[in-house]
């Protein structure tokens, strides 16, 4: 018996190492799923806590993504209006508008004559009566300018605005960059806040899983001791707990995903209604395949890491047993 054993061992190691490895993992996975399904309420409650903790930052991320799209839409329609000095003639105005057309930072240029300007003004209610009293047209030549889309960041817009203001023909440049700058500042702030929130809640999830696995290791103390006594490696002991942690993470992640989906479904129609009222083509962005993937991977990783620390600490604490 003694003589034959080492031979068998090496033979087995060579032929079926990978197969054994998978068998052990499958055994551990079934073991942990079995344990979880034996305490369904506990499992569901833990997963629910994780799910809610993850749903909050996920929902905020999706919301922010929508705001970004919306702000991009706003900026698509951003235009600067250049009012030329009153003594600028039609020819000078046309030359200028042709020159501006060649500026790489400008996408579109439209020249507006004083007559057209007056016409446009008259379209607007309330002003009509006032304008009718005027003897001659007081409006100067004007040029509306749409910046190229890569010039939508506040810095680019300010620079363009400055360039236009410095032109000798310019009287005033009308464009309020303040709100764009404010929006960008707010979005940067929101980004940071959501990252911080995700960090805290992720840490919370880590602690929840850690606590659950710690309780499980204590509950299974006898089993762990027996396994140690009959030659189970730390990896063997750790494996089912890692699967348990990962399963908590996965269930929590799926729940978070479904919660966010539900939330988006709930606000979809009202959002569309609001968009229609503003004549906007805006459609609410859902949680994409990539977002879901990232969410599930992070939740599984949080579960794994939480479990790893819990079992590691337990094994260190009971080293001599």
């Amino acid at each position: 018996m003694r003589q034959s054993q080492p031979k068998n061992l090496t033979k087995r190691k060579r032929s079926g190492f990978l197969k054994n490895y998978f068998i052990r993992h499958i055994q551990a996975a079934f073991n942990s799923i079995g344990q979880l399904s034996r305490t369904p309420i506990n499992t569901l409650l833990t997963s629910a806590i994780i799910g809610i903790a993850l749903a909050l930052p996920t929902a905020l991320f999706i919301l922010l993504k929508n705001v970004e799209v919306l702000s991009h839409n706003f900026q698509q329609t951003t235009q600067l209006t250049l009012y030329l000095k009153p003594d600028i003639t039609e020819n000078q105005a046309r030359e200028l508008s042709q020159a501006l057309q060649k500026n790489p930072n400008i996408r579109e240029v439209r020249l507006i004559s004083p007559a057209e300007g007056l016409n446009e003004l008259q379209q607007q209610a309330g002003v009509k009566n006032v304008l009718e009293d005027l003897q001659n047209n007081p409006l100067p030549w004007a040029i509306t300018i749409l910046p190229t889309s890569n010039n939508h960041a506040p810095e680019g817009l300010s620079q363009l605005q400055q360039e236009l203001r410095d032109l000798p023909e310019t009287d005033t440049v009308q464009f309020d960059t303040d709100w764009v700058q404010r929006l960008f500042a707010l979005m940067t702030l929101a980004h940071r806040a959501i990252y911080a929130l995700s960090l805290f809640l992720g840490l919370g999830v880590l602690l929840i899983v850690n606590n659950c696995i710690r309780a499980a290791t204590e509950h299974n103390q006898n089993e762990i001791n027996v396994i140690k006594l009959i030659g189970g490696t730390y990896a063997f002991i750790r494996r089912p707990f890692l699967y348990t942690g990962a399963t908590y993470g996965l269930l929590g992640g799926i729940l978070a995903w479904q919660l966010v989906d539900l939330l988006l479904l709930w606000i979809k129609n009202p959002t569309h209604h609001v968009a229609t009222l503003y004549h906007s083509q805006f459609h609410l962005l859902g949680i994409s395949f990539f977002d879901t993937f990232v969410l599930l991977i992070s939740s599984i990783m949080l579960g794994l890491v939480g479990a790893w620390f819990a079992v590691g600490r337990h094994l260190r604490a009971t080293k001599t047993a």
Binding site: I230, G231, F236
Partner: protein
């Protein structure tokens, strides 16, 4: 197979459990470790299985030196050693079959191999008709036999038993001893810690006696 060279064990509280112990157990030997309670029998077995560490000397099990053994090597050492304690230490939520199969699962055997080996060993300990029972449905003697089956299923070269018959009546103790002798005949090195002199005297095997942490005599009786 098991060699102790000037081994001493002092606990953190200063108590000297083993004092300069020397002995050598050849492969295939059968020996009793006797002495009063507190003489250091359990400590000695724990040192051989690397459950506890010793403070001086060297222990060699097979080819493995246990001084400064790394934690990574301990599981592989224990797979060569079957360990039986006074309490069977079975997992209550698993059947007899699953309890006995555990060392094979740990060692990564295939399901087919596990089944045939577990059945074989359960037949040997006369529990083949109870493989689907749970430990609490068995008597004390049966539980101890399950523990023995679990200890030998992986065909270890060494079997260590710490008062394996301590909770059993003399008839059952005799049966268990019989089992150990069968394993010994197959080549297993066996070391049994016991203070049951009636049992020890019923068979002729080497006897190692400990008193207050010292080895008094190790006569080899054939």
């Amino acid at each position: 197979m098991i060699e102790l060279q000037q081994v001493s064990k002092r606990y953190a509280n200063g108590f000297l459990a083993l004092d300069n112990v020397n002995f050598h157990l050849e492969a295939g030997e059968f020996a009793f470790l006797t002495g009063h309670s507190g003489a250091g029998k359990s400590t000695l077995l724990n040192l051989i299985a690397a459950i506890e560490t010793f403070t001086q000397g060297q222990i060699i099990v097979g080819k493995q030196h246990l001084k400064n053994i790394s934690p990574r090597q301990i599981p592989y050492l224990r797979r060569q050693i079957g360990i039986i304690l006074q309490t069977p230490n079975l997992l209550r939520d698993r059947t007899v079959f699953d309890n006995v199969a555990l060392p094979l699962v740990i060692a990564g055997y295939s399901y087919k191999e596990i089944t045939s080996r577990v059945r074989a060993v359960l037949t040997k300990v006369s529990l083949i008709n109870k493989e689907n029972f749970f430990p609490l449905e068995l008597s004390g003697g049966e539980q101890q036999r399950v523990a023995i089956a679990r200890a030998v299923v992986n065909k270890p070269s060494i079997l260590l038993a710490d008062e394996p018959t301590g909770n059993l009546d003399p008839d059952l103790a005799g049966e268990i001893l019989c089992l150990f002798e069968q394993f010994n005949r197959l080549g297993m090195t066996i070391l049994i810690a016991s203070h049951d002199l009636g049992l020890i005297n019923s068979v002729k095997h080497r006897r190692i006696t400990l008193a207050e942490g010292k080895l008094i005599d190790a006569p080899v009786t054939a």
